[in-house]
C-alpha cells in the first residue's frame, strides 16, 4: 500500500480553499474575542469568589468556631467552581501557563507548611523540605540560606517558600495550600472521609490545638490574600489591551490553534492521563486532585465543562448571566458539519461520564474509594471519564487537521519563519 502524496496534497489544497472561502462567514477574530471575553468572565468570577473566601477566612481567624470554619470551607468549594473552568486556558496561552502554578500547583508535600501525621514520613530523596513545617519554625535554613519567617507574608510565601529548593512539590501558595490549612490531611486512605482539621487549630491562647495557632492564622491569611492578588493580575491580562488578549488575537490562525491546543492538552495529557488514569493505576488516594477536601469529582467535572465552554463559545457566570458568541463550533460547522456534530457529541458524552462520577461521589461513594485496588465499579466510573476525554481528543485532532492548523504547532521552527528552508 505504497502511497504517493498526490491524493493527499490535492485534498489539502481543496480543503485549504474551502476553508478560506467559508471562513469569511465565521470571523476568526470574533471567535477569539468571544473566547477572551469568556476567559475574562471566568477569571472575574474566580476573583469574586476568592474575595468571598478571603472574607470568610478573616471571620474564621477573628472568631474561630466550627461554624466559621465550615463557612470558609464552603467559600473555598464555591471558589473552585469558576476556577476549574479556566484550566482550559492554560495550555496554548503561555502567559496563563507561566502563572497558574502560583494558584493551582498540585500535588504538594504539605508537611512543608504545617504539622502532619507521623505516617507522612520526613524528608525524602526527592524533597528534603517535605516536612519543613514553616508554621512551627520561624527560622530555618533553605538551600544553604538562613530564612527569617517570623512574619508570614504573601511575599515570603511567593518569593521564598513556593517551589523552595526548586522542587515543584513544595507548594506554598494557591488553592491547594489553602485547602490543606482549612481541611488538614486526609488520613482516611481509601475510606470515605476528608481531612478533619478542627477549628481549634485557629484558637489563640491556651486552647490552641496543633501548636502555633497564631502563625497558622497568619499563614492562612497571607495565602488567601496572595491568591486574591494573583487572580487580580490574571483578570487584567484578559481585559481589553491585556497581554493575554492581545497576544491571542495578534494572529487569528495561531489564536484558533491555541484554543484547540488548550482543549486537547487538558483533555488528554493532563486530565485523562496525569489526574485521572494515573491515580487509578497507582491506586493511591493521595493522587486525587483535591485530596484534602475530597472535592476531586468537582474538580474533574468543571475542568470538563471548561473545555466544552470553549468549543461552544458559552459560559454561565456564577450569577447566571450567560456569555455567548461566535464559537469554534460555528467555524467547524462551516467547514465540516459532521465533524462539528461529532465533537459536540463527544464533549456531551464526556460531561455525562464526569457527571456520573460527581453524582456517585455526592451520593457517598467517595473518589478515594473509587481508586482502591479491586474496586471494579469505581474503576469503571473513572475510566468512563478517561475514555470520554481520550475520545474527544481524537476528534479535536481531526478538527485541527480539518481547519488546516496542523503545522501551527511548530510555529517558530524553520518551516514557518522561512518556508523555503524546508526545501533546501
Amino acid at each position: 500500500m505504497r502511497h504517493l502524496k498526490y491524493a493527499a496534497s490535492a485534498t489539502a489544497l481543496t480543503l485549504g480553499l474551502a476553508s478560506t472561502g467559508l471562513a469569511q462567514d465565521v470571523s476568526k477574530d470574533a471567535i477569539l474575542e468571544n473566547y477572551a471575553d469568556i476567559a475574562a468572565a471566568e477569571y472575574g468570577d474566580s476573583l469574586a469568589t476568592a474575595k468571598a473566601l478571603q472574607a470568610a477566612v478573616e471571620t474564621l481567624i477573628a472568631e474561630p468556631s466550627a461554624d466559621t470554619l465550615q463557612a470558609a470551607k464552603e467559600a473555598w468549594l464555591s471558589a473552585r467552581v469558576p476556577y476549574q473552568q479556566t484550566e482550559v486556558f492554560r495550555f496554548g496561552n503561555a502567559i496563563v501557563d507561566d502563572w497558574e502554578g502560583k494558584v493551582n500547583a498540585w500535588p504538594l508535600d504539605e508537611g512543608l507548611i504545617d504539622y502532619v501525621d507521623s505516617s507522612y514520613g520526613g524528608p525524602t530523596d526527592e524533597n528534603e523540605f517535605a516536612a519543613l513545617n514553616v508554621i512551627a519554625n520561624p527560622t530555618f535554613t533553605l538551600s544553604g540560606e538562613e530564612v527569617d519567617a517570623t512574619e508570614i507574608t504573601p511575599e515570603l510565601i511567593s518569593d521564598t517558600l513556593h517551589e523552595a529548593d526548586g522542587i515543584e512539590a513544595n507548594v506554598a501558595s494557591g488553592y491547594h495550600a489553602i485547602e490543606f490549612l482549612l481541611w488538614g490531611q486526609d488520613l482516611y486512605g481509601h475510606e470515605a472521609g476528608n481531612g478533619d482539621r478542627a477549628y481549634t487549630d485557629y484558637l489563640q491562647g491556651d486552647d490552641c490545638t496543633g501548636g502555633n495557632c497564631d502563625r497558622r492564622a497568619a499563614y492562612l491569611k497571607a495565602a488567601t490574600d496572595l491568591l486574591v492578588s494573583d487572580l487580580e493580575w490574571i483578570v487584567t491580562q484578559w481585559e481589553d489591551g491585556g497581554e493575554a488578549r492581545t497576544s491571542l488575537t495578534a494572529n487569528p490562525d495561531a489564536g484558533i490553534s491555541a484554543m484547540l491546543t488548550g482543549m486537547g492538552s487538558l483533555s488528554y495529557g493532563e486530565q485523562a492521563g496525569e489526574r485521572m488514569r494515573l491515580g487509578l493505576m497507582l491506586n493511591d488516594p493521595e493522587e486525587e486532585h483535591d485530596c484534602f477536601s475530597d472535592n476531586t469529582h468537582n474538580s474533574h467535572y468543571y475542568d470538563g465543562l471548561g473545555i466544552q465552554n470553549v468549543y461552544l463559545g458559552e459560559y454561565k457566570s456564577v450569577d447566571g448571566t450567560e456569555i455567548s458568541g461566535p464559537s469554534l463550533s460555528d467555524l467547524v460547522a462551516a467547514t465540516d458539519p459532521d465533524l462539528d456534530a461529532e465533537l459536540k457529541l463527544k464533549l456531551a458524552e464526556t460531561m455525562r461520564a464526569l457527571a456520573q462520577i460527581k453524582a456517585s461521589a455526592e451520593a457517598g461513594f467517595a473518589y478515594d474509594q473509587m481508586l482502591e485496588r479491586g474496586n471494579v465499579a469505581g474503576e469503571m466510573l473513572v475510566m468512563g471519564g478517561v475514555n470520554g476525554l481520550i475520545a474527544q481528543t481524537k476528534t479535536i485532532e481531526r478538527v485541527v487537521s480539518a481547519l488546516g492548523l496542523d503545522q501551527i504547532e511548530f510555529e517558530g521552527s524553520d518551516s514557518l519563519d522561512n518556508p523555503s528552508a524546508v526545501f533546501q
Binding site: K5, Y6, D253, M281, R373
Partner: protein, 334 residues
C-alpha cells in the same frame, strides 16, 4: 499564515516525489519490535522461575534484553499499549514521589497474596509492576535481600510473569486486528484516512524524543544550581545512557521509514541523529552522574540540544512533507 499554508500545498502538488508506506512501517518496525519484546519478556519470565536470586547472571541478562526491546519501541504509545494500563504497567517512570519502593515495601510487608496469581497481580498498582519495579528487586540493596526470602522470590517471579503477559497481550492485539486498522486506514472509524495513520506514527516519534530530552535527560540535569543525578532513569542497573541510546535508535528506525522517498529530508535527519549518537558515545557516563560538575553537565546539555535539533527537524522538514501535525500526547500536561 494562510498564504504560507497555501504555498506549501501548491509546492507539494507540484513535487509529488514523496511516499510513505504504512505496510512497511508495520512489517519492519512495529511487529518485529513488539515480537522481540514478547519473546524477550518470555525468556525473562522463564529465567525468573528457574532462578530468582537477584544476582543471577542469566536473570539479569534476560532483564536487560527485555528492557532493551521495550525501550526501542516505547515511543509507540497508541492502540494496544494504551489498552487497560499496559504501557504504564510495563514502565512506570518517572516516579516523582517514590511510589515504586513504597509499593514494593507494602507488598512485601503484607506478604500480599496478589503475587500468587497472574490475574490478581494485574490489579496491583503500576508502581509495583514492570521494568522499573523489577530493577529495584534486582539491583537495589534494600530489595535484593529483602526478607522473607520466600516472598521476595515469589514477588520477583510475579513481576516477571506479569511483564511477559503484558508484552504478549500487546503483541496479540497488534497481530490480531490493530495492524489491519492502520493498513486499511480510510476504511475504518479509528483511522479515517491515511493522514490519521501516519499522524499516529509521526506523533509517536515526536513524543518519544520529547520524553528522552525532557525527562530522561532533563530530570537528572535539574537546574544549574541544583543538578539531580539521583533522578537519572534506571541508574541502579546502569541503564540511563543506554535507554537514551535505544530511544534514539528506535525512533530513528521509524523516522527513516517515514522519510523514505524523500532523500534530502532523510539525509538531514540522519545527520542530526548521527550527531546525537556520536555525542552520546563520547559521553562515557552511563548514569549521567557527571551532571553535578560543570564539564559533565555541559556535555549532557549538548546531547540534549542535539536531540532537540532532531525534534526541530521533525517539525520543520518531515511534518510538512507528511502533511500532518504531531497531535496531542501524554506529555502535554505539566
Amino acid at each position: 499564515m494562510r498564504l504560507i499554508a497555501a504555498c506549501f500545498a501548491l509546492v507539494f502538488t507540484a513535487v509529488p516525489t514523496f511516499a510513505y508506506d504504512i505496510d512497511r512501517i508495520i512489517d519492519e518496525h512495529v511487529l518485529p519490535g513488539f515480537g522481540r519484546l514478547a519473546a524477550n519478556a518470555e525468556v525473562l519470565d522463564q529465567r525468573a522461575q528457574e532462578d530468582c536470586s537477584a544476582t543471577s547472571p542469566g536473570l539479569r541478562e534476560a532483564y536487560n534484553d527485555a528492557f532493551d526491546s521495550w525501550v526501542r519501541i516505547s515511543h509507540l504509545r497508541f492502540g494496544p499499549t494504551e489498552t487497560g494500563d499496559r504501557a504504564f504497567a510495563l514502565a512506570f517512570w518517572p516516579d516523582t514521589k517514590g511510589f515504586t519502593p513504597r509499593e514494593l515495601t507494602t507488598l512485601i510487608e503484607a506478604r500480599d497474596p496478589a503475587a500468587d496469581s497472574e490475574e490478581d497481580f494485574s490489579h496491583v498498582s503500576i508502581a509495583g509492576r514492570g521494568f522499573y519495579a523489577l530493577e529495584f528487586l534486582l539491583y537495589d540493596p534494600q530489595f535484593m535481600d529483602a526478607e522473607p526470602e520466600e516472598y521476595r522470590c515469589k514477588l520477583l517471579q510475579a513481576v516477571a510473569r506479569d511483564i511477559s503477559a503484558t508484552a504478549q497481550a500487546i503483541l496479540d492485539d497488534w497481530q490480531n486486528g490493530y495492524a489491519d486498522l492502520l493498513r486499511n486506514a480510510g476504511e475504518n472509524d479509528i483511522y479515517r484516512s491515511e493522514e490519521e495513520a501516519v499522524r499516529a506514527f509521526f506523533g509517536s516519534v515526536v513524543s518519544g524524543l520529547q520524553f528522552t530530552s525532557d525527562t530522561r535527560l532533563g530530570r537528572p540535569l535539574g537546574s544549574f544550581e541544583r543538578p539531580r543525578p539521583n533522578r537519572a532513569e534506571a541508574r541502579r542497573s546502569n541503564r540511563s545512557a543506554r535507554n537514551v541510546l535505544l530511544s534514539l535508535e528506535g525512533t530513528r528506525d521509524l523516522v527513516r521509514l517515514l522519510a523514505d522517498g524523500a532523500p534530502n529530508v532523510e539525509a538531514e535527519l540522519d545527520t542530526a541523529y548521527d550527531r546525537a549518537l556520536d555525542r552520546l558515545a563520547g559521553l562515557e557516563d552511563p548514569t549521567f552522574a557527571g551532571v553535578g560538575d560543570v564539564q559533565g553537565r555541559f556535555e549532557v546539555e549538548i546531547l540534549q540540544q542535539n536531540i532537540d535539533r532532531i525534534r526541530e527537524l521533525l517539525g520543520a522538514s518531515l511534518a510538512p512533507i507528511l502533511g500532518v501535525g504531531a497531535g496531542f500526547n501524554a506529555l502535554d500536561g505539566d
